[in-house]
Structures are given as structure tokens and as C-alpha cells.
Amino acid sequence: MAKAIMYDATKCTACRGCQAACKQWNELEAEETKNTGSYENPADLSYRTWLKMRFTEVENGNGLAWLFTRRACMHCTDAGCVQVCPTKAVNKTDSGIVYIDREKCTGCGYCVEACPFDVPRLDGSRVTGKAKMFKCILCKDRVDNGHEPACVKTCPPGALDFGEREDMVAKSEARVAELGDDALLYGDKELDGLHVLYVVNHPLKDHKLPVNPEVSPAVTLWQDILKPVGYGVVGIVAGGLLLNYMVARARMVKAKEGK
């Protein structure tokens, strides 16, 4: 049932077809950018950049490597953004897509801060707070209609694949085995399983992927403890006040009658 993207960094050539295809399919406007001494651009994800490639030059005993890393929503199973969304605008579909129903989004931005991968972005104004959250939704409309996500479909060297998550995990494991010692699969277990799996053959830190991503304890505290406690406290107080009213009123009536 659950789907997943497999990103094989060892095949990726950073042609950035995915970056452009994402904008094309999702009707995202271009950013104004600068060359700051790198091929990498835009500098960061934004409300109109849902996917970008990261370029990293690494030199070690094995010579020079030019690493490319996909940067977009990981569609976590244990998704901080979903947990934290006060209006349930960010939600998880059966296929594992972390979807944002922008109608429901109030732009609070809690998801932005709750994401261990720093993915969700807000548009709009910081001052008025009127905003919506934007991020990769794994081309939900395409997936719902049996098509691959735009980035996967466009990938020339076949670095991206899409399918049933268990198939993608199996394929990734096979690829890792084929690549040998340095290779590893990222995303199978992280956050109860990401729906974007990475095959890399350089250390995660070289790819700037968080080694043990986790949803901040604050998010758990807030969502699983504080909120229910809040309802409880308010419930108790409200109940107490109601009781008080009934009792006090009854007494007053009694007292009056007594007079």
C-alpha cells in the first residue's frame, strides 16, 4: 500500500531535471538567484522550490568526489509536521504521502519548526502572518492517477525510482549490496521509515543527511502531553465552575426562601 521514492545518489548526475520538472508540474515560479560560487541554486528550499539538488565536493584518500543530494520532503512515517499541525492540514495518506491540504492550512508554521529535515516553507508575510505552507506532496495528484511523481519520471540517469515501498526497500538493499562496503541505505528505519529512500556510498555527513533524525521531544511533549492536559485542565475548571454555579445558586435560592 505504502509507496516510496528511491533516490540513488550513486547514479545521480545532478542534471536538475527533477528541480525543473517539479516547478513545471506544480506551477511554481522561479526564484531570483545569485551565483555565489557554486552550481547549487536556489540557495534553499522555499514555498516555490520544493525540491533542490545539493552539490558537495569531498576530497579524501580515495580522491575527489562530487556528491549530489536530493533535498525535498522525506515523507516520514513519524512525521513531525503531521503531529504538530494544529489544524490537521498536514496529514498522512495511506500511501505514505505527507500531504498538505492548503485549504486547511492557517500558516502557523509549526510544521516548519517540527521537521527534522527542515523542509516545509511558508509563503506570505512575516508581519501579517498570513501564509500557507508549501512542500513536496509527492505529486499526489499524479500518484493518485497512476503516474510517477514528476521528478521520478524526468530523471535521465534513472537515479530516481518510484513504487511500492517494500519493493523500493528491496531494490535499495540490492543496490547497496552491489555497491559494496561504503554503500548504505538511508530512510528504511529512520523516523519509522521514510518514503524517500536514499542509496549513498559516501558518509551521511558528506551528504549532509542527519544521522539520527528525530522529531523534537518538544513536539511530542506538546502534542501528546500538553494538549490533552490542556483539555483536562480546562475541563476540570469548567466543570468546577458549573458545579459551583449550580450549588451557589441553589443555596441562594434556599437562603432567600429561608428569609
Partner: protein
Amino acid sequence: MTHHEVEKYSAGARWFHWTITAAALVLAITGLFLYVPAFSSVAEGGATRIVHRIAAVIFILAPLLFFLMKPGRSFHFIKEIFSWGKDDLAWLKAAPDYYFGGDEKKMPPQPDMNTGQKLWAVVAFFSALGFIFTGIFMWFLKDTLSAGVFDWMVIIHDLCFIVGGAMLLVHLYLGAIHPRMTESLKSMVKGKVSAEYAQSHHGKWYKEVAAREAAAKGTPGGQGKQQAH
């Protein structure tokens, strides 16, 4: 029963109170939309978030303005709410019976702010500080704060909401609904309470007021500013 009325709240204090109340209610309600998903449809489109911000500005500016205009009274108020004594303990002991049963006898006489009101004021004071501090961070420093710090800001904001909100409910109830607090709302609307009410609810204060009034009758201009005890 006399129809003599005494001034409980000055016009400035009343304006301040109602402004802050209005802002707080708006903040609480618009905040609630984010807290309770069932209400989230109201928040769609983000209009409530703008309202929340406007109210927040009022919520921050009103006390500042009041402080600037009436620094003395403000200091006095703050000093008063943090002055706790034996009477307060007695009040707290007697309060349940009083508020449920209406037994006044055990209630120690109270100054113009009774212990319950002080308690509310302290909670309101700290939650307001919490709201404002965390709110400003969440509003303006979202992009610079680290995700972890932001999460804690949200938690503190919400914690303030839970505690302050619960106390606000109590305050609203006592101020406007409780069968005995008949003149509390009036006092904040018109500024005056009947002498009777004042005597029953704020005995200590009434004594002072009465003394002052008597003195004033004898010596015009003798409205000595008195410190609360």
C-alpha cells in the same frame, strides 16, 4: 439599605481593563482555532492569524500606554498583587465555602483587591509576559530561531494559554456569572459599587474609603494617597 455608592475603579482603569479584556478574548478565541482542530475551518485563509496579531499589538500596547500615563498607579498595582499575607491564607481557606455556600463570616475582610483577584492578577501578569515574550519570538524571529527553540516557544505559549485560559474562565465566571458577585461587573462598567457590596466583598478597602470620604467631607482636598497593607 443605603444607596450610597463608592468609586471602585477610575475611568482610566476601566478603559484599560476592557481594552485588555477585549484583546485577550480575541487572542484567546483566535488562538483557540489553532489549538482545537475542530475549529480550524475558521482559521483557514489565515484571517484569524491577522486578527490575532492585531489583538496582540493592542494587548502589548495597552499596558505600556497605561504604564506611561499612570506610572504610580501601575507600580502600586504591581506591588499590591505581589503583596501576600496571613489574610490571604485565611481567604483561601474560607473561599470554597464562601463561593459554594455563601458563608461570609469566615471570610476575612479584603482590600480593594481580594486574594482571588490577586491570584488572578498574578497569573494574568505572568501568562501575559509569557505570551508576549514567546509571541514576539514566534512572530518575528521564526526564521532566525532554531527549530528546537521555536518548539519550546510554542509550548510555553500554549502552557500560558492553558493556565491563563483556565484562570480567565474563573475570572469571567466570578466577574459576570457567579450569583453573588452581583456588582463586580457593574463596578468595572460604571466604576462604582454600592457601599453594601463594597463592605461585604472588600471590607478593608471600604473602611479606608469610608474614612477617606469622611475626612474629605471635613477637609476638602485631603484625598491622601494611601498605600494598601
